[in-house]
């Protein structure tokens, strides 16, 4: 088996981008940490030849679901009313915020396919539903992001 250090270095960046897309930039680092800590615990039992990235994304998805649940249970109190939502800016923070405006399913389909590089068959296994439906969700997500970035000339998408 590869040393786990090598797994972190090879897949850490992609998993971080997936976490940012799925749970948003603020909670992404916690999701990443929980994902890799859980993965470290289970790693010696991973079958030889398994698709490590798909395995990590599966764990990350579970952690994201946990975070959504706990966020729903424990709304964070704020002293001041947040500013009204503005149009996303043409930088990566804006991009991650824009992703958060998408329905969860579109956001996840897009992240798992385009950021994690999983084939749609694998995305369908993660999200449930058909491969074609996942393909459509990802395409709809990309389309909506393009609309949000209509004015953008920096080619983020």
């Amino acid at each position: 088996m590869k040393p786990f250090e090598q797994i972190v270095r090879e897949h850490g960046p992609a998993v971080l981008r997936v976490c940012r897309a799925v749970v948003g930039p603020d909670q992404a680092e916690d999701a990443w940490s929980e994902t890799f800590l859980a993965a470290l615990g289970a790693y010696p039992d991973l079958p030889e030849g398994a698709n490590v990235q798909a395995w990590l994304v599966t764990i990350a998805k579970r952690k994201a679901v946990d975070q959504h649940r706990s966020a729903a249970r424990n709304p964070v109190p704020v002293d001041e009313i947040p500013e009204p939502v503005r149009a996303p800016q043409a930088d990566t923070d804006g991009l991650w915020s824009a992703l958060k405006t998408l329905p969860v399913r579109q956001r996840e389909a897009l992240a798992y396919h385009h950021l994690a590089g999983l084939p749609y068959a694998e995305v369908a296994r993660l999200l449930g539903g058909s491969e074609a439906a996942c393909r459509r969700s990802a395409a709809d997500g990309i389309k909506k992001l393009r609309t949000l970035y209509e004015e953008d000339r920096h080619g983020i998408l």
Partner: protein, 219 residues
Amino acid sequence: MASFETDGAGPYDAGPTGTGPTDTGLLAPDPREDAVLATLHSRLAAGAEFAGLLDVAYTVIDSPVGRLILAATDAGLVRVAFECEGVDTVLQDLSTRISPRILEAPERLARPAAQLGEYFDGTRRSFDLDLDLRLTAGYRRTVVQTLQKIGYGHTSTYAGIAALTGNPGAVRAVGTACGRNPLPLVIPCHRVLRSDGTTGGYRGGPAAKKILLDLEAAA
């Protein structure tokens, strides 16, 4: 497989890991990502240590005999390796022989790293460390334990060590045991010379052995 030897700016300087089918724009690496990942890595190592999931911690340090890889289990220092052995090769071997739960976690190696620094500065003559000898067994382990009796600045011979183990005919086996010593420097196999007075082989190369002998002779 990309090498992950830690030369240069750190583990995350290898550029984008092109994983997606459309690796542009949205997927372009965020310049801040390397710093974030470095922080997350430290956090993971600390969390793994706290949760008892870090079976092998390692670090890479500089020394006059080239960069050294230090690895420790929770029982103690388990491996000292020379850069010429290859970082990837050494870690893969530890993964196979001990556990794949390996992370770069310099905190666990702080004490061995400090003592080796003092040794190379000439201010330390013996090491005071917990050692995990699980990577050596049988007669080789007997040899490795016997090597610890050779004091700083002194030398012995392969034949002399064989005699000390009560097995004077095992000169060749002593040579092999020295060559496979999992904890060179800390267990001083460099103090074993050939009976004709020449230096003999060394896991870190003959030049490294000479540097160590000269260092101890000068002190």
